[in-house]
């Protein structure tokens, strides 16, 4: 065997940190990316990156608490050892990024500044202006460029990953990729392949994600047999600016500074919003949640905005769902001082001054917690065994997944500022694991054998490509079909989910997939043909869309980002203390039954008929026992009291844990 070589697909934070670490360990890396890696979607992350730090530590914070917040925020749906390991690596990762030159904001004394984010009581988040993701990505891009100059890394930018190549035993031996300029195919034999291809927001048409976030690379791995975990968990951010091309984030701080959310009481009232009198406005968050008003937690705000537009028909516009987020009652001076940066974004892309005209906003798909199922090896101390070849390996031996495209760290809901950490962590952590796997990968027969496998795979892809180009007379337009897919997914599988709608959406997606087979291309050339590349990636959206819809349909409960009103657990309605107590007991009984039934990851495998087959995997929650999230629930205090009593009755140790850990609110 010649020098070992690893193929990395995707050059965002995860792919670049894996590449950097592998190159440093002397492994040659081929880095394939749809765009120059410096343009990857990680640049869009704004807020920051979480880690325990010396300051929070002195306030009682610890790696354990970061771990606990992450697990609690994720509604306990993640295996705990990898999360624990990630939290423990946090401080080292921030230090590393600091050394790489990331311009983190500074305190007057020159230390890194930190801010507080949702789901925690501590100022754990390091940040670089409002572009933390961009700054972290650039630091890694620069290090990888350095290795590229030294000849240790070869970048293949504007290349598309088409399929993993498996040998007869089912081990991944490389991949087939396509040059997006010349449209030529190339086989990349590799000792291991790492997928770091990010999220799948484009399934939803428009989202906060970049145009490269099609999920196609992951879908191609899934269609080759890799399992997909927790697909139904998709994070939706409550406030984004709806655009014709994309939904751009509007920070929560707009509401924090006094922004009011409302819709006209007359459906699609065509008056200038400033001319609509107070009495004809519906401030629905303030009306429904008098205590919290516009600052209800993210998931509730998201649900209510969605509900008032889709179910009550009170969207401001008819063709485009949106509500007003109004800052016009605040003085321009205050707004400029406190919200300058984010208001400029609105102004830049909407061409309207939000200081004088109410903004139009709507929730937007933001992050996929689910992704390729990956393995890990648990260590004696409850973390992960460093360098185990199992860590981050998909169900296909030799094929690894890291970053947003794996399902490992965020459970049912991701905490703000944790994604940058999970991407860099998984990238660094996977490198020694991949290297250990080389030993297991020995023993493939002679070169001729492997040559045949790659030849067959390349031939298959060439044939598929040709069949697209030569297709004549199809009536379907891929761009219109994509729009339809986005509408179906957005209506059925985002904020509020109902089984009848999910069932219908599944059938609709299957029909759409049939129509996709009738797509005709408007470009049949073989040079920078974006038309055929898009049509292919559209075809690869359907399998993942079906995974999401079926996972959501089968999961009859509410957990994290997955909300089905039919299975919601209401708070206490009774007024007499005895009745209240009985209801709290019943609530806890139901919570325990639900945990026993549903605290499981959904695992999808592609079936022989192309439909996903879903099974369930128990979650390793041995380190922190699951406990209810009670934010905003009537009678929360009483339920919590009953819950703690039960825990205390069970084991002394867990009672102590339950008593010590705060029931953190507002996670997510």
């Amino acid at each position: 065997m010649s020098q070992p070589r690893v193929l990395v697909i995707g050059g965002g934070l995860a792919g670049l940190s894996a590449t950097m670490r592998l190159a440093e360990l002397g492994i040659g890396v081929d880095l394939v990316s749809l765009v120059p890696v410096k343009r990857s979607h990680s640049v869009c992350a704004q807020g920051g990156i979480n880690s325990v730090n010396s300051l929070t530590r002195q306030q009682g914070d610890s790696e354990w608490k970061h771990f606990d917040d992450t697990v609690y925020g994720g509604d306990f749906l993640q295996h705990q050892p990898p999360v624990k390991e990630m939290a423990e690596w946090g401080p080292r990762i921030i230090d590393l990024m600091d050394r790489l030159g990331v311009p983190f904001n500074r305190t007057p004394e020159g230390f890194r500044d930190q801010r507080r984010f949702g789901g925690t009581l501590y100022k754990r988040t390091a940040f670089a202006g409002a572009t933390t993701g961009q700054q972290l990505l650039y630091a890694l891009d620069e290090q990888v460029r350095r290795y590229e100059v030294e000849g240790k890394v070869k970048k293949w930018e504007f290349w598309d990953f088409l399929e993993p190549v498996l040998d007869e035993s089912g081990r991944c031996r490389g991949a087939i990729c396509q040059d997006l300029v010349t449209m030529q195919f190339r086989a990349f034999p590799a000792d291991a392949v790492i997928l770091a291809s990010g999220g799948c927001g484009l399934l939803y048409g428009r989202s906060t994600m970049s145009m490269v976030c099609t999920g196609s690379a992951v879908s191609r791995a899934y269609q080759s047999g890799a399992a997909y975990g927790n697909g139904e968990f998709i994070q939706v951010h409550p406030t984004a600016i709806p655009g014709a091309d994309k939904l751009r984030l509007m920070s929560e701080s707009a509401r924090g500074e006094g922004g009011r959310v409302w819709v006209p009481r007359i459906p699609q009232d065509s008056r200038d919003p400033r001319q609509i009198p107070e009495a004809e406005r519906c401030y629905f968050l303030e009306e429904r949640y008098p205590k919290y008003g516009n600052l209800v937690p993210r998931d509730i705000a998201t649900r209510e905005i969605f509900d008032i537009c889709t179910n009550e028909g009170l969207s401001v516009e008819k063709d485009r769902l949106c509500v007003y987020l109004d800052l016009t009652h605040l003085s321009r001076e205050t707004l400029d001082r406190k919200l300058g940066g984010i208001l400029e974004i609105y102004e830049k892309f909407q061409g309207v001054d939000p200081r004088s005209v109410p903004m139009k906003i709507f929730p937007a798909v933001h992050y996929s917690m689910g992704g390729l199922w990956v393995d890990y090896e648990r260590s004696g101390s409850g973390g992960m065994v460093e360098g185990s070849p199992r860590n981050h390996q998909t169900t296909i031996p030799g094929l690894y997944a890291i970053g947003e495209c794996d399902y490992q760290y965020h459970g049912a809901n991701r905490l703000g500022a944790n994604s940058l950490l999970s991407c860099i962590f998984s990238g660094l952590f996977v490198a020694p694991s991949v290297i250990s796997s080389f030993d297991l990968a020995r023993g493939w027969g002679g070169g001729g054998h492997s040559g045949q496998v790659f030849e067959r795979a390349t031939g298959r892809q060439e044939e598929r490509h040709e069949s697209f180009l030569s297709r004549r007379g199809g009536r379907e337009n891929p761009y219109s079909l994509h729009g339809e897919l986005g509408d179906i997914m957005t209506r059925a599988a985002t904020v509020v989910r109902r089984n009848d709608q999910l069932r219908k959406a599944y059938d609709d997606v299957c029909r759409l997939e049939e129509r996709w087979r009738e797509c005709s291309l408007s470009d049949t050339g073989n040079w920078t043909n974006q038309n055929v590349v898009f049509t292919k990636s559209l075809g690869d959206m359907f399998p993942i869309a079906k995974v999401i819809l079926k996972g959501a349909l089968l999961r009859d409960e509410c957990r994290g980002a997955h909300y089905k009103p039919e299975f919601a657990m209401p708070g206490i309605a009774a007024t007499s203390p005895d009745e209240q107590r009985r209801e709290a007991e019943a609530w806890c009984d139901r919570f325990e039954r639900n945990t026993a039934k549903w605290l499981k990851s959904s695992i999808a495998k592609v079936g022989p008929d192309g439909h996903p087959e879903i099974s369930y995997e128990d979650v390793d929650s041995s380190l922190i026992p699951p406990r209810p999230r009670l934010y905003g629930l009537v009678g929360a205090e009483l339920i919590e009291e009953v819950w703690k009593e039960r825990q205390a009755a069970r084991t002394p140790a867990s009672a102590e844990a339950a008593g010590r850990q705060p029931m953190t609110v507002g996670a997510g």
Partner: protein
């Protein structure tokens, strides 16, 4: 009150009659490198709040030119659509800018008759609006735009940095490598190397790289060199960067036109970086004179 409402409704109706109007778009197309470019007209139905990306998306979906011919969709680069990835640089109404933040309503105020879209002229066209900007990334290699750390293993935190230094560095670090500053620079000229039939890919890559290395670095890379020279660890190889900045294609080529700073979508103080580089280069040259 009611009258006022009626007036508003009427005004909205008038608006919606505007809303069905068509945007006339003229695109400069080119099928492949070395081929003739040609103009093509497209009619795109107007919608409020469009940007050039959504115009191009509609052109791609329709794939029919204004005179009714079926045409292949216009090719273009884009990704984040929020002006932070640097992909979608092109000339819109003759000005280099990001297509994602080029708003149609504003462009129509500039010129209601049509919107003209062209590829950048300082980089070789790959197809239509897609250009090959690898030279821009090569320039980052030339100036060693990185912090030369020992490695990625834990060595504790980075150096202490004052808020003033951070505030100085941060704007330079927001550079998205879009290439607007190079497109607008009179000193930065196009380098297009065509692969010969008898040449291997490796030979071609080497020849192209050599050609790039003779060309002007431009504001983009000079500013990055200053960013890393100002960093405590990055500055440890400041001399190497100054050498790159003063050799062939270096800062001496800057004609001080100051177009770069005028077109930068991120408002990076590029001329300040260039001035700093000039001063540092002079000091470095004097120092070398005395060291000899």
């Amino acid at each position: 009150m009611i009258r006022a409402v009626e007036t508003d409704v009427a005004a909205t109706d008038a608006d919606s009659s505007v809303a069905v109007k068509t945007i006339r778009v003229r695109v400069l197309r080119q099928d492949a490198p070395g081929r003739e470019s040609y103009w093509e007209r497209h009619d795109v139905p107007y919608e409020p709040n469009m940007n050039i990306i959504s115009v191009l998306q509609k052109i791609a979906a329709k794939a029919t030119s204004a005179d009714g011919r079926a045409v292949p969709p216009v090719a273009w680069d884009c990704s984040c659509l929020e002006e932070v990835c640097g992909s979608c640089t092109m000339l819109v109404n003759g000005r280099t800018r990001m297509a994602c933040s080029a708003l149609v309503d504003k462009l129509l105020v500039e010129n209601a008759d049509e919107i003209v879209i062209e590829p950048m002229t300082k980089f070789p066209v790959v197809r239509d609006l897609v250009v090959d900007r690898r030279r821009l990334f090569r320039s980052l290699e030339r100036v060693k735009a990185w912090v030369p750390v020992d490695g990625s293993y834990d060595q504790g935190p980075g150096p202490r940095i004052s808020p003033k230094e951070q505030e100085d560095a941060y704007p330079l670090s927001t550079c998205i490598s879009c290439g607007c500053c190079l497109e607008a620079c009179p000193q930065f000229t196009k380098i297009e190397v065509i692969r010969r039939d008898d040449e291997s890919q490796e030979e071609f890559d080497a020849r192209r790289k050599a050609a790039f290395d003779k060309g002007f670095l431009g504001a983009h890379a000079i500013s990055q060199a200053m960013l890393f020279n100002a960093h405590p660890t990055g500055g440890m190889i400041a001399d190497e960067r100054l050498k790159a900045v003063t050799s062939q294609g270096g800062i001496q080529m800057c004609g001080n036109a100051q177009n770069c700073v005028a077109v930068c979508p991120k408002q990076i103080p590029l001329t300040r970086s260039i001035a700093r580089a000039g001063r540092a280069a002079t000091l470095w040259a004097i120092k070398r004179l005395f060291d000899r």
